[in-house]
Structure formats: C-alpha cells, structure tokens
Amino acid sequence: MLITCPYCGPRDVIEFTYQGDGNRERPEPASQNFEAWNAYVYDRLNPAGDHNEIWQHSGGCRSHLRVVRNTLTHEISSVAFARGDHGPRRKMEGKS
C-alpha cells in the first residue's frame, strides 16, 4: 500500500502510523458532556467502503494526514493535511 504524502510524495505504508478513525469529533477540552466524550473515545462508524482516517508520516515529514481509504479494497482516493481546512500547518516562527 502506498500513501502519497503531500510533502514527500508516494511512500510505502511502512513509513506511516495509523492514528485511527478521522470521523470522530473531540469535545472541547473543558466539556463535561460525558456522552460526547464516551462517543469520541469508544464509538466508531467502521464503514465497509470509504473511510476517513488519520495517518501520521512518522517515518518521514511527521505530518498528520487525513486519508480517505476504501476498507474493502485498500484503495486510497485522497490524502490531505489533517489541518487541511486551515491550510498546511504554518512554520513556527523562530524555529527552523
């Protein structure tokens, strides 16, 4: 299985770490909505077909990626930065 990292290009799956289901919504840290926390921690959609998931390119640029992958065929249809909604993570100033 190859995952095409937006920074590094197509790389073998062995360079990546699976971070799990990307559909889950993390409650606000101060939230006391226990049901929402329980759902976030334990409940999964687990679809047979396209699955939104988070991978980290831990053996490469270490970016967290949002990947859409088919759980029946392992075919990957899209890869984007996990923070893609806000564009790629900005370089932190003062650090190289």
């Binding site: 799956v13 799990g20 334990y42 999964r44 959609l45 687990n46 029946l72």
Partner: protein
C-alpha cells in the same frame, strides 16, 4: 443418521464409502423461526447447538452469507488457551477450556483437540515478573500455569535459540500445559452436524440484507432468500458486525474491523510440539498434524474488511520468527491469508441482549475468538433463551464502555490497533 465410530468406519470402508450421509441438511428457509442466528461461523453454530441441546429451542435457523465455516473459524491459527489476567476473562476462557476438554465426545466428532501447551516467552526480567503475576492470577482462579526456566524451555523446544547471543535472549516463560490446538474446520462441522440433527436449519448462501422491524423491535430479517421472521434475532458475525448492525440502524459500535494475517510453511518433520509465543513482538507458532508450521503476528493495524493483508506485516512476522528460530531461514512459506477481526475497544468480547429489543449480540472477539467458540455459544444460547446473561458473560456487555467498566486485559486503552 450415522454416528461416527470405529464400527461405522469399518462398515463404510467395506461398502466403498458410498453410504455416508451428508453431515447436515440443506433446507430452504421457513417463513418464521423462534430464533434466527445471523452468521454460520463457529460461534453461530455453537450457539445453535447449545440452544437446542441445553434449552430445548430447536426451531432455529442459522443464516450464513457464504458457505459454512468460510470465515474466521477456518482462518485462525487454532490456538486454544485460557491464560488471561483479569478475572472476567479468565473465568470465561477457562469455562471454554473445560468445554474443549470434552468437546470431541460431546459432538461425537473428532475436533483433534491437542493439549500440547502454550508457552509465552519472556525476554526481560521485568517481563518475566509480569508473567509471574499473570500466572499467579490464573492459579488463583484455578487455571494451570507454571513458570519455566531457559534450561527447561530448551528441553521442551530444542530448536529455539536461547543463547545469550540471541537477538532477544530468553529469560524464562509462562506455560499453560492444558492449552493447545484444535482442528478448526472440524469444530465448525461438528457443531453444524450436532445442531442439524437436533432440528436446527443451517441455511448457507443466505445473506442478510436488512432487518424487519415493528417500531424499535426487531422481528426478523430480509435476506437474499426472502424474508424470515423470528421472535429473537441473534447476531454473531465477527468482522462483519459493523455492516450488519448498520443494516439495523445502529450506526456506531465500539468495534473496528481489522485484518489479521496467518501463514503456513511447507510440511516439516516434527519440529515443535507446543504453541510458542514471542515476547518482544507479536508472534505465535505451532505445528499442524500435517507438519506445516502455522504462525501469525500482529493485525495489519488499520481498518479493513478485505480478507487479505499487506506486505509489511508479512515481513515483520517472518523476522520475528527468525529471531526465535534462526534454523527456519530456509523453510518456504506455503500459504498466507487474512481474516477480518472485530477489534473491540478494550480487547474483550461482547455477549449480550440488545442493543435493540428482540436482538442479541455476540461480537468483539478481536483475534482470539476461536478458543472461545464453545463457551461463546454456550453463554450466548443461555442469554438468548433466558433473556439474561449467565454469570460468565455478564461482564461482557455492550454498554460497559460508556459506563466505565471496560475489561482491558492488556491495559492498552481504546486503541484496537494495539490490543
């Protein structure tokens, strides 16, 4: 119907083996049943068997999407053990172990249960201490466990590299002598035959496509072979749990489906007469009666419904095998395959009523469901028949996750990749 015995073997041999009856019928589905069990794997079949035998409920259908035993019951690496740490797991799996010990007689079907022992190798003093703790926990609940020294291990498994030059030297091990292996196909066939002769309809090539509902209550299923009604609908579909529950409108479950690969080598002369597990990774191996080494390791580690895996795990499993047994470097792998595992969020199973009225659920076996086959069916049948769990499966509820009552034997948290 023919019992299997030395006499019947001889009589049939003399008659050219032409008079053997099929082990189970191929009935068409009836319009309704008392109980429908979705899933004709080991757990579904044993559930049907114990419903009929222990509870007298024989108006039962087992619906199987493919052919009988085509899923994980025929794909696992056949190890049977009860060496758990937490009391809920230990009691349940020990009940299963005791059932295994009489299973061939119970079913009048040779499941080739061989109590050849299961040895967990420890590679650091801390790991050895941890195994001592687990062994003590097991013995506390009446399960056999013993610690072994490297010299004893070397006598048991001469091929193992226990020298200090090994990549991960062996400092000891935890042995359960009553553990072992069984012939997995025979387990499915034996339960199928036993259930069938008590009146259970086993319906193959019958895929459930939806659920019949009366309000919230489940009143039957729609299938590729027509609608079938039932007072009680039991789900025992392992890796397909997510898909089937979605048909019932239950969108999320504390389950992820992952693929686990298994491997077998060409046949060798007797090489190892126990089940051995590696402590510095995840690897386990035994030798089949045909001589092939049967072994496996970790799940691939990402959601998958494909019954095949990827190469990185193949690579990892082989390297772990060679770390333990350098002498196997030239042995050829004959076959590899994958099965879809229903990984739960705490590594422990779910056997419970619900989550909808009229429905019963059996899932979350991770990659350890084979050894549970007798007790899983026995407890599930009890739960279906009496509408309450037996003490053995009372802790294995679906709502335990939201209630903070998880049974996490390895302490890995809600991360199925690591269980």
């Amino acid at each position: 119907m023919a019992e299997y015995s030395a006499l019947s073997l001889l009589a049939n041999a003399l008659k050219g083996n032409k008079d053997w009856k099929p082990a189970w019928r191929k009935p068409d589905p009836k319009a309704s049943y008392d109980v429908i069990i979705i899933g004709g794997g080991g757990h579904g079949l044993s559930t049907a068997y114990y419903l009929a035998k222990e509870h007298g409920i024989t108006n039962v259908a087992v619906l199987e999407k493919g052919w009988l035993g085509s899923g994980n019951v025929g794909r696992n690496t056949t190890a049977v053990r009860s060496n758990y740490l937490l009391p809920a797991n230990t009691r349940f799996y020990e009940h299963s172990m005791k059932m295994w010990e009489g299973l061939s007689h119970e079913l009048n079907y040779n499941v080739m249960f061989s109590q050849r022992g299961c040895l967990n190798l420890a590679h650091t003093p801390a790991q050895f201490d941890d195994y001592a703790r687990r062994g003590n926990a097991m013995r506390h609940l009446g399960v056999d466990a013993e610690l072994m020294t490297p010299a004893e291990i070397k006598r048991l498994i001469p091929a193992l590299d226990i020298s200090s030059n090994a990549r991960f030297p062996v400092v000891g091990g935890l042995m359960q002598r009553r553990a072992g292996t069984a012939r997995h196909d025979a387990v499915a066939w034996g339960y199928a035959r036993g259930a069938d002769r008590r009146g259970v309809d086993i319906i193959e090539n019958c895929e459930v496509t939806g659920f019949l509902r009366d309000g919230d209550r489940v009143t039957g299923v729609t299938t590729s072979r027509g609608d079938i009604r039932a007072k009680k609908v039991a789900v025992a579909v392992a890796g397909s749990t997510g898909r089937v529950m979605q048909l019932a409108g239950v969108d999320t479950m504390p389950i992820e489906s992952h693929v686990l690969q298994a491997f077998v080598t060409e046949s060798l002369k007797p090489f190892i007469d126990t089940v051995v597990t590696f402590g510095m990774g995840h690897f386990y191996m035994s030798q089949s009666d045909k001589g092939g080494l049967v072994y496996g390791g970790d799940i691939d580690g990402y959601n998958s419904y494909a019954q095949r895996g990827n190469l990185p795990i193949v690579d990892e499993v082989m390297s772990e095998m060679l770390a333990l047994f350098p002498g196997l470097a030239r042995v050829r792998m004959l076959r590899s395959w994958g099965g879809v595992c229903d990984m739960s969020m705490d590594g422990s199973p779910i056997i419970t009523m619900g989550p909808l009225p009229g429905m019963y659920l059996n899932c979350g076996w991770c990659y350890g469901g084979f050894k549970a086959t007798p007790a899983s069916g026995w407890c599930f049948a009890w739960t279906i028949a009496k509408d309450q769990p037996h003490d053995f499966n009372a802790p294995f509820t679906l709502d335990r996750f939201h209630r903070g009552l998880v049974i996490d034997d390895k302490g890995q948290g809600a991360n199925p990749r690591l269980h």
